[in-house]
Protein backbone atom coordinates (compact mmCIF):
# COMPACT_ATOMS: atom_id res chain seq x y z
CA UNK A 1 0.00 0.00 0.00
CA UNK A 2 1.44 3.38 -0.92
CA UNK A 3 1.79 6.21 1.60
CA UNK A 4 -0.87 8.11 -0.31
CA UNK A 5 -3.30 5.24 -0.07
CA UNK A 6 -2.79 4.76 3.68
CA UNK A 7 -3.64 8.43 4.26
CA UNK A 8 -6.95 8.11 2.49
CA UNK A 9 -9.83 7.88 4.93
CA UNK A 10 -11.53 4.54 5.41
CA UNK A 11 -14.53 4.38 3.11
CA UNK A 12 -17.79 2.92 4.41
CA UNK A 13 -20.63 2.16 2.01
CA UNK A 14 -24.01 1.34 3.55
CA UNK A 15 -25.48 -1.20 1.12
CA UNK A 16 -29.27 -0.89 0.71
CA UNK A 17 -30.97 -3.74 2.62
CA UNK A 18 -27.50 -5.13 3.30
CA UNK A 19 -24.22 -4.77 5.20
CA UNK A 20 -21.77 -1.93 5.66
CA UNK A 21 -19.02 -2.38 3.10
CA UNK A 22 -15.72 -1.15 4.55
CA UNK A 23 -12.66 -0.38 2.46
CA UNK A 24 -9.38 0.68 4.03
CA UNK A 25 -7.20 -0.23 7.00
CA UNK A 26 -9.45 -0.94 9.97
CA UNK A 27 -9.20 -2.67 13.30
CA UNK A 28 -12.26 -4.37 14.73
CA UNK A 29 -12.36 -4.92 18.49
CA UNK A 30 -15.04 -7.10 20.05
CA UNK A 31 -16.92 -6.44 23.32
CA UNK A 32 -14.17 -8.15 25.33
CA UNK A 33 -11.48 -5.97 23.82
CA UNK A 34 -10.13 -8.72 21.55
CA UNK A 35 -9.04 -7.72 18.10
CA UNK A 36 -10.90 -9.43 15.27
CA UNK A 37 -8.50 -9.60 12.37
CA UNK A 38 -10.08 -9.02 8.98
CA UNK A 39 -9.02 -11.68 6.49
CA UNK A 40 -9.56 -9.52 3.41
CA UNK A 41 -9.00 -5.93 2.35
CA UNK A 42 -12.66 -5.11 1.83
CA UNK A 43 -15.02 -6.42 4.49
CA UNK A 44 -18.80 -6.42 4.97
CA UNK A 45 -20.01 -5.71 8.51
CA UNK A 46 -23.37 -7.24 9.44
CA UNK A 47 -26.10 -4.75 10.23
CA UNK A 48 -29.18 -6.98 10.15
CA UNK A 49 -28.05 -8.77 13.32
CA UNK A 50 -28.68 -12.18 11.83
CA UNK A 51 -25.19 -13.24 10.80
CA UNK A 52 -23.70 -16.51 12.01
CA UNK A 53 -20.19 -15.11 11.50
CA UNK A 54 -20.19 -11.83 13.49
CA UNK A 55 -19.09 -9.16 12.95
CA UNK A 56 -18.96 -10.10 9.27
CA UNK A 57 -21.95 -10.35 6.94
CA UNK A 58 -22.86 -13.88 5.80
CA UNK A 59 -25.73 -12.95 3.47
CA UNK A 60 -28.48 -13.70 6.03
CA UNK A 61 -30.08 -10.27 5.45
CA UNK A 62 -31.39 -11.66 2.15
CA UNK A 63 -33.55 -14.25 3.89
CA UNK A 64 -34.62 -12.54 7.14
CA UNK A 65 -36.52 -9.64 5.64
CA UNK A 66 -33.99 -6.97 6.69
CA UNK A 67 -34.74 -3.59 5.10
CA UNK A 68 -32.87 -0.35 5.44
CA UNK A 69 -34.86 2.90 5.49
CA UNK A 70 -35.25 4.46 2.02
Amino acid sequence: MSADESRRPVRITPCPDGPLLVRGPIEVVDADGRTVVPTRRTVALCRCGGTATPPWCDGTHKVNGFRTPE
Binding site: T13, C15, P16, D17, G18, P19, L21, T39, R40, R41, T42, V43, A44, A52, T53, W56, C57, D58, G59, T60, K62, V63
Partner: protein, 356 residues
Protein backbone atom coordinates in the same frame (compact mmCIF):
# COMPACT_ATOMS: atom_id res chain seq x y z
CA UNK B 1 31.27 -30.74 -2.84
CA UNK B 2 28.35 -28.59 -1.98
CA UNK B 3 25.67 -29.75 0.30
CA UNK B 4 22.38 -30.15 -1.44
CA UNK B 5 19.74 -28.45 0.64
CA UNK B 6 16.46 -30.25 0.67
CA UNK B 7 14.11 -28.34 -1.55
CA UNK B 8 11.13 -26.92 0.29
CA UNK B 9 7.87 -28.71 -0.19
CA UNK B 10 6.10 -27.10 -3.12
CA UNK B 11 3.12 -24.98 -2.26
CA UNK B 12 0.18 -26.81 -3.72
CA UNK B 13 -1.99 -24.29 -5.44
CA UNK B 14 -3.86 -26.85 -7.48
CA UNK B 15 -4.29 -26.65 -11.16
CA UNK B 16 -0.88 -25.96 -12.61
CA UNK B 17 -0.58 -28.96 -14.84
CA UNK B 18 -2.32 -29.24 -18.21
CA UNK B 19 -5.60 -31.12 -18.49
CA UNK B 20 -5.13 -34.83 -19.25
CA UNK B 21 -6.49 -35.83 -22.66
CA UNK B 22 -10.06 -36.99 -21.98
CA UNK B 23 -11.79 -40.00 -23.52
CA UNK B 24 -13.78 -39.02 -26.64
CA UNK B 25 -17.58 -39.14 -26.38
CA UNK B 26 -18.46 -39.31 -30.05
CA UNK B 27 -17.16 -38.63 -33.57
CA UNK B 28 -16.61 -34.87 -33.02
CA UNK B 29 -14.51 -35.08 -29.87
CA UNK B 30 -12.72 -38.08 -31.35
CA UNK B 31 -11.77 -36.10 -34.48
CA UNK B 32 -10.78 -33.05 -32.43
CA UNK B 33 -8.48 -35.03 -30.14
CA UNK B 34 -6.90 -36.76 -33.13
CA UNK B 35 -6.36 -33.36 -34.79
CA UNK B 36 -4.75 -31.92 -31.65
CA UNK B 37 -2.37 -34.88 -31.42
CA UNK B 38 -1.41 -34.71 -35.12
CA UNK B 39 -3.16 -37.88 -36.21
CA UNK B 40 -5.93 -36.28 -38.27
CA UNK B 41 -6.10 -33.42 -40.76
CA UNK B 42 -7.33 -30.16 -39.11
CA UNK B 43 -9.58 -29.58 -42.14
CA UNK B 44 -11.58 -32.68 -41.19
CA UNK B 45 -12.99 -30.77 -38.19
CA UNK B 46 -15.41 -28.79 -40.35
CA UNK B 47 -17.22 -31.85 -41.71
CA UNK B 48 -17.24 -33.35 -38.26
CA UNK B 49 -18.87 -30.26 -36.74
CA UNK B 50 -21.36 -30.01 -39.64
CA UNK B 51 -22.34 -33.68 -39.15
CA UNK B 52 -22.98 -33.25 -35.44
CA UNK B 53 -24.93 -30.02 -35.85
CA UNK B 54 -27.06 -31.58 -38.61
CA UNK B 55 -27.99 -34.50 -36.37
CA UNK B 56 -31.16 -34.20 -34.31
CA UNK B 57 -30.42 -33.30 -30.73
CA UNK B 58 -32.68 -32.41 -27.85
CA UNK B 59 -30.10 -30.09 -26.44
CA UNK B 60 -26.55 -29.07 -27.26
CA UNK B 61 -26.06 -28.23 -23.61
CA UNK B 62 -26.69 -31.87 -22.73
CA UNK B 63 -24.82 -33.27 -25.74
CA UNK B 64 -21.75 -35.10 -24.46
CA UNK B 65 -19.79 -35.03 -27.71
CA UNK B 66 -20.37 -31.27 -28.25
CA UNK B 67 -19.70 -30.25 -24.65
CA UNK B 68 -16.54 -32.33 -24.37
CA UNK B 69 -15.24 -30.89 -27.67
CA UNK B 70 -15.90 -27.37 -26.37
CA UNK B 71 -14.19 -28.16 -23.06
CA UNK B 72 -11.05 -29.23 -24.95
CA UNK B 73 -11.18 -26.22 -27.29
CA UNK B 74 -11.52 -23.77 -24.39
CA UNK B 75 -8.84 -25.58 -22.41
CA UNK B 76 -6.34 -24.53 -25.09
CA UNK B 77 -6.79 -20.98 -23.69
CA UNK B 78 -6.27 -22.03 -20.04
CA UNK B 79 -3.74 -24.69 -18.95
CA UNK B 80 -3.67 -26.57 -22.24
CA UNK B 81 -3.95 -30.32 -22.75
CA UNK B 82 -1.23 -32.86 -22.00
CA UNK B 83 0.97 -33.38 -25.04
CA UNK B 84 -0.92 -30.83 -27.17
CA UNK B 85 1.12 -28.04 -28.77
CA UNK B 86 0.16 -24.55 -27.52
CA UNK B 87 0.03 -23.33 -31.13
CA UNK B 88 -3.37 -25.01 -31.50
CA UNK B 89 -4.87 -22.20 -29.38
CA UNK B 90 -5.11 -19.89 -32.42
CA UNK B 91 -5.32 -22.47 -35.23
CA UNK B 92 -8.00 -21.28 -37.69
CA UNK B 93 -9.71 -24.66 -38.24
CA UNK B 94 -10.10 -25.19 -34.51
CA UNK B 95 -11.35 -21.63 -33.99
CA UNK B 96 -13.80 -22.00 -36.89
CA UNK B 97 -15.14 -25.26 -35.50
CA UNK B 98 -15.50 -23.66 -32.08
CA UNK B 99 -17.39 -20.71 -33.55
CA UNK B 100 -19.91 -23.03 -35.21
CA UNK B 101 -20.49 -24.92 -31.96
CA UNK B 102 -20.76 -21.70 -29.97
CA UNK B 103 -23.39 -20.39 -32.35
CA UNK B 104 -25.55 -23.47 -31.70
CA UNK B 105 -24.99 -23.33 -27.94
CA UNK B 106 -25.65 -19.60 -27.66
CA UNK B 107 -28.84 -19.92 -29.75
CA UNK B 108 -30.10 -22.64 -27.41
CA UNK B 109 -29.20 -20.60 -24.32
CA UNK B 110 -30.95 -17.52 -25.74
CA UNK B 111 -34.04 -19.62 -26.44
CA UNK B 112 -34.17 -21.42 -23.11
CA UNK B 113 -33.15 -18.48 -20.91
CA UNK B 114 -35.33 -15.43 -21.45
CA UNK B 115 -33.95 -11.98 -20.67
CA UNK B 116 -35.42 -11.17 -17.24
CA UNK B 117 -37.12 -7.89 -16.39
CA UNK B 118 -34.67 -5.08 -17.03
CA UNK B 119 -33.77 -2.68 -14.22
CA UNK B 120 -36.18 0.25 -13.95
CA UNK B 121 -33.36 2.59 -14.87
CA UNK B 122 -29.67 2.39 -15.56
CA UNK B 123 -28.34 3.65 -12.23
CA UNK B 124 -25.95 1.30 -10.44
CA UNK B 125 -28.41 0.99 -7.58
CA UNK B 126 -31.29 0.04 -9.87
CA UNK B 127 -29.17 -2.58 -11.64
CA UNK B 128 -28.03 -4.07 -8.31
CA UNK B 129 -31.62 -4.14 -7.06
CA UNK B 130 -32.78 -5.94 -10.22
CA UNK B 131 -29.98 -8.52 -9.87
CA UNK B 132 -30.69 -9.11 -6.18
CA UNK B 133 -34.40 -9.49 -6.99
CA UNK B 134 -33.67 -11.98 -9.80
CA UNK B 135 -31.31 -14.10 -7.72
CA UNK B 136 -33.49 -14.14 -4.61
CA UNK B 137 -36.53 -15.21 -6.64
CA UNK B 138 -34.64 -18.17 -8.10
CA UNK B 139 -36.66 -21.28 -7.37
CA UNK B 140 -34.07 -23.74 -8.62
CA UNK B 141 -33.53 -27.13 -7.00
CA UNK B 142 -31.63 -26.89 -3.75
CA UNK B 143 -28.39 -28.77 -3.89
CA UNK B 144 -27.23 -27.06 -0.72
CA UNK B 145 -30.18 -28.24 1.37
CA UNK B 146 -29.57 -31.82 0.24
CA UNK B 147 -25.89 -31.53 1.13
CA UNK B 148 -26.66 -29.98 4.52
CA UNK B 149 -29.22 -32.57 5.57
CA UNK B 150 -29.12 -35.76 3.52
CA UNK B 151 -25.92 -36.32 1.57
CA UNK B 152 -23.69 -39.25 2.43
CA UNK B 153 -19.96 -39.14 2.04
CA UNK B 154 -19.95 -40.54 -1.48
CA UNK B 155 -22.35 -37.79 -2.56
CA UNK B 156 -20.05 -35.14 -1.08
CA UNK B 157 -17.26 -36.66 -3.14
CA UNK B 158 -19.45 -36.50 -6.24
CA UNK B 159 -20.28 -32.86 -5.53
CA UNK B 160 -16.59 -31.95 -5.44
CA UNK B 161 -15.90 -34.02 -8.56
CA UNK B 162 -18.55 -32.09 -10.52
CA UNK B 163 -17.38 -28.76 -9.15
CA UNK B 164 -13.69 -29.51 -9.74
CA UNK B 165 -14.07 -28.91 -13.49
CA UNK B 166 -14.56 -25.21 -12.75
CA UNK B 167 -13.29 -24.72 -9.21
CA UNK B 168 -9.70 -25.80 -9.96
CA UNK B 169 -9.60 -22.79 -12.29
CA UNK B 170 -11.98 -20.73 -10.19
CA UNK B 171 -12.36 -17.12 -11.35
CA UNK B 172 -10.34 -17.58 -14.55
CA UNK B 173 -13.23 -17.30 -17.05
CA UNK B 174 -14.30 -13.97 -15.55
CA UNK B 175 -10.74 -12.66 -15.69
CA UNK B 176 -10.95 -12.63 -19.51
CA UNK B 177 -13.28 -9.65 -19.09
CA UNK B 178 -10.73 -7.40 -17.37
CA UNK B 179 -9.16 -5.76 -20.47
CA UNK B 180 -12.66 -5.38 -21.95
CA UNK B 181 -13.76 -3.23 -19.03
CA UNK B 182 -12.66 0.27 -18.09
CA UNK B 183 -12.97 2.59 -15.13
CA UNK B 184 -15.09 1.66 -12.12
CA UNK B 185 -16.32 -1.74 -13.39
CA UNK B 186 -12.75 -2.82 -14.13
CA UNK B 187 -11.63 -1.81 -10.63
CA UNK B 188 -14.58 -3.70 -9.12
CA UNK B 189 -13.80 -6.83 -11.14
CA UNK B 190 -10.19 -6.70 -9.96
CA UNK B 191 -11.23 -6.15 -6.36
CA UNK B 192 -13.23 -9.40 -6.51
CA UNK B 193 -10.65 -11.32 -8.52
CA UNK B 194 -7.82 -10.30 -6.17
CA UNK B 195 -9.70 -12.05 -3.35
CA UNK B 196 -10.38 -15.06 -5.59
CA UNK B 197 -6.67 -15.30 -6.31
CA UNK B 198 -5.65 -15.21 -2.65
CA UNK B 199 -4.96 -11.46 -2.21
CA UNK B 200 -1.21 -12.01 -2.39
CA UNK B 201 -1.11 -15.44 -0.74
CA UNK B 202 -0.93 -18.42 -3.14
CA UNK B 203 -2.30 -20.74 -0.46
CA UNK B 204 -5.44 -18.60 -0.10
CA UNK B 205 -6.35 -18.81 -3.79
CA UNK B 206 -9.84 -20.21 -3.91
CA UNK B 207 -8.70 -22.86 -6.41
CA UNK B 208 -6.01 -23.89 -3.93
CA UNK B 209 -8.50 -24.07 -1.05
CA UNK B 210 -10.70 -26.22 -3.26
CA UNK B 211 -7.79 -28.53 -4.07
CA UNK B 212 -7.16 -28.90 -0.32
CA UNK B 213 -10.81 -29.79 0.23
CA UNK B 214 -10.58 -32.43 -2.53
CA UNK B 215 -7.53 -34.01 -0.93
CA UNK B 216 -9.26 -33.93 2.46
CA UNK B 217 -12.01 -36.09 0.97
CA UNK B 218 -9.47 -38.48 -0.53
CA UNK B 219 -9.95 -37.18 -4.08
CA UNK B 220 -7.23 -36.51 -6.65
CA UNK B 221 -6.79 -32.74 -7.08
CA UNK B 222 -4.98 -33.05 -10.41
CA UNK B 223 -6.35 -30.43 -12.82
CA UNK B 224 -8.94 -31.96 -15.15
CA UNK B 225 -8.61 -35.36 -13.47
CA UNK B 226 -12.36 -35.97 -13.35
CA UNK B 227 -13.51 -34.54 -16.69
CA UNK B 228 -14.21 -38.10 -17.91
CA UNK B 229 -16.48 -38.67 -14.91
CA UNK B 230 -18.87 -35.75 -15.37
CA UNK B 231 -21.80 -35.51 -17.80
CA UNK B 232 -22.37 -32.84 -20.46
CA UNK B 233 -24.68 -30.86 -18.17
CA UNK B 234 -21.74 -30.36 -15.78
CA UNK B 235 -19.36 -29.27 -18.56
CA UNK B 236 -21.96 -26.92 -20.04
CA UNK B 237 -21.71 -24.33 -17.26
CA UNK B 238 -17.94 -23.77 -17.28
CA UNK B 239 -18.08 -23.90 -21.08
CA UNK B 240 -20.70 -21.12 -21.11
CA UNK B 241 -18.51 -19.07 -18.75
CA UNK B 242 -15.58 -19.47 -21.14
CA UNK B 243 -17.77 -18.43 -24.08
CA UNK B 244 -19.00 -15.34 -22.22
CA UNK B 245 -15.49 -14.47 -21.08
CA UNK B 246 -13.72 -14.96 -24.39
CA UNK B 247 -16.10 -12.82 -26.47
CA UNK B 248 -15.94 -9.05 -26.04
CA UNK B 249 -19.49 -8.96 -27.47
CA UNK B 250 -20.65 -10.93 -24.42
CA UNK B 251 -18.92 -8.81 -21.75
CA UNK B 252 -22.28 -7.86 -20.29
CA UNK B 253 -23.14 -11.56 -19.91
CA UNK B 254 -19.91 -12.50 -18.12
CA UNK B 255 -20.38 -9.59 -15.71
CA UNK B 256 -24.01 -10.54 -15.05
CA UNK B 257 -22.93 -14.15 -14.64
CA UNK B 258 -20.42 -13.25 -11.95
CA UNK B 259 -22.95 -11.10 -10.12
CA UNK B 260 -25.47 -13.96 -10.01
CA UNK B 261 -22.77 -16.46 -9.05
CA UNK B 262 -21.70 -14.31 -6.09
CA UNK B 263 -25.28 -13.51 -5.06
CA UNK B 264 -26.18 -17.20 -4.80
CA UNK B 265 -23.06 -18.29 -2.97
CA UNK B 266 -22.88 -17.22 0.70
CA UNK B 267 -25.90 -19.06 2.05
CA UNK B 268 -25.41 -22.28 -0.01
CA UNK B 269 -21.76 -22.42 0.98
CA UNK B 270 -22.70 -22.20 4.66
CA UNK B 271 -25.03 -25.17 4.11
CA UNK B 272 -22.30 -27.08 2.24
CA UNK B 273 -19.95 -26.46 5.18
CA UNK B 274 -22.65 -27.66 7.60
CA UNK B 275 -23.10 -30.86 5.58
CA UNK B 276 -19.36 -31.52 5.68
CA UNK B 277 -19.29 -30.95 9.46
CA UNK B 278 -22.33 -33.22 9.93
CA UNK B 279 -20.28 -36.02 8.37
CA UNK B 280 -17.33 -35.29 10.65
CA UNK B 281 -15.05 -33.72 8.07
CA UNK B 282 -12.36 -31.35 9.29
CA UNK B 283 -11.38 -27.78 8.61
CA UNK B 284 -9.18 -28.78 5.66
CA UNK B 285 -12.38 -29.68 3.84
CA UNK B 286 -14.72 -27.02 5.27
CA UNK B 287 -12.33 -24.07 4.90
CA UNK B 288 -13.11 -23.58 1.22
CA UNK B 289 -16.85 -23.37 1.91
CA UNK B 290 -16.53 -21.23 5.06
CA UNK B 291 -14.25 -18.80 3.24
CA UNK B 292 -16.91 -18.35 0.57
CA UNK B 293 -19.59 -17.46 3.12
CA UNK B 294 -17.73 -14.29 4.10
CA UNK B 295 -15.96 -13.58 0.84
CA UNK B 296 -19.06 -13.77 -1.30
CA UNK B 297 -21.10 -11.65 1.11
CA UNK B 298 -18.56 -8.94 0.20
CA UNK B 299 -18.30 -9.88 -3.47
CA UNK B 300 -22.04 -9.82 -4.12
CA UNK B 301 -22.22 -6.18 -3.01
CA UNK B 302 -19.27 -5.18 -5.20
CA UNK B 303 -20.54 -7.25 -8.14
CA UNK B 304 -24.07 -5.85 -7.98
CA UNK B 305 -23.38 -2.14 -7.68
CA UNK B 306 -19.76 -1.39 -8.59
CA UNK B 307 -19.29 -3.99 -11.32
CA UNK B 308 -22.62 -4.70 -13.06
CA UNK B 309 -24.27 -1.45 -11.97
CA UNK B 310 -21.46 0.84 -13.04
CA UNK B 311 -21.04 -1.08 -16.31
CA UNK B 312 -24.68 -0.44 -17.22
CA UNK B 313 -24.28 3.20 -16.18
CA UNK B 314 -21.40 3.44 -18.65
CA UNK B 315 -23.25 1.58 -21.38
CA UNK B 316 -27.01 1.20 -20.86
CA UNK B 317 -27.24 -1.00 -23.97
CA UNK B 318 -25.53 -3.78 -21.99
CA UNK B 319 -28.38 -4.02 -19.44
CA UNK B 320 -30.09 -6.84 -21.34
CA UNK B 321 -26.97 -9.02 -21.53
CA UNK B 322 -26.07 -8.33 -17.89
CA UNK B 323 -29.48 -9.59 -16.79
CA UNK B 324 -29.38 -12.47 -19.30
CA UNK B 325 -25.91 -13.57 -18.15
CA UNK B 326 -27.21 -13.60 -14.57
CA UNK B 327 -30.27 -15.64 -15.58
CA UNK B 328 -28.07 -18.03 -17.58
CA UNK B 329 -25.95 -18.62 -14.47
CA UNK B 330 -29.04 -19.55 -12.45
CA UNK B 331 -30.43 -21.74 -15.25
CA UNK B 332 -27.19 -23.66 -15.89
CA UNK B 333 -26.72 -24.26 -12.17
CA UNK B 334 -30.36 -25.35 -11.91
CA UNK B 335 -30.13 -27.85 -14.80
CA UNK B 336 -26.99 -29.35 -13.31
CA UNK B 337 -28.50 -29.57 -9.81
CA UNK B 338 -31.67 -31.17 -11.19
CA UNK B 339 -29.64 -33.87 -12.91
CA UNK B 340 -27.61 -34.64 -9.79
CA UNK B 341 -30.55 -34.60 -7.38
CA UNK B 342 -32.68 -36.79 -9.69
CA UNK B 343 -29.92 -39.39 -9.72
CA UNK B 344 -29.40 -39.22 -5.98
CA UNK B 345 -33.14 -39.46 -5.29
CA UNK B 346 -33.11 -42.64 -7.40
CA UNK B 347 -30.19 -43.99 -5.37
CA UNK B 348 -27.81 -43.78 -8.33
CA UNK B 349 -24.51 -42.08 -8.98
CA UNK B 350 -24.70 -38.67 -10.69
CA UNK B 351 -21.43 -39.38 -12.49
CA UNK B 352 -20.87 -41.14 -15.82
CA UNK B 353 -18.82 -43.77 -14.05
CA UNK B 354 -18.58 -44.42 -10.32
CA UNK B 355 -15.55 -43.06 -8.51
CA UNK B 356 -14.57 -46.24 -6.74
Amino acid sequence: MTTQLPSPAPVTTGAQSPMPIPTPRGPLSDTLLRVLTWSADPGSLHASVADVLASPSGSWLEHDDVQLALTCMYELHYRGLTGVDDDWEWQPDVLGARAALEQAVEAELRERVAVPDLPEGSSAQQVAAALFALTSADGGPSMSRWIARRADRSQLEELLVHRSVYQLKEADPHTWSVPRLGGAPKVAMMEIQSDEYGAGDPERQHAALFATAMRGLGLDDTYGRYVDHVPAVTLAHPNAMSMFGLHRRLRGAIVGHLAAFEMTSSIPNRLYGNGMRRLGLGQDVTEYFDEHVEADAVHEQIAGRDLAGRLVEQDPALAGDVMWGAAACLALDGWWAQHVLDRWEAGETSLREPLR
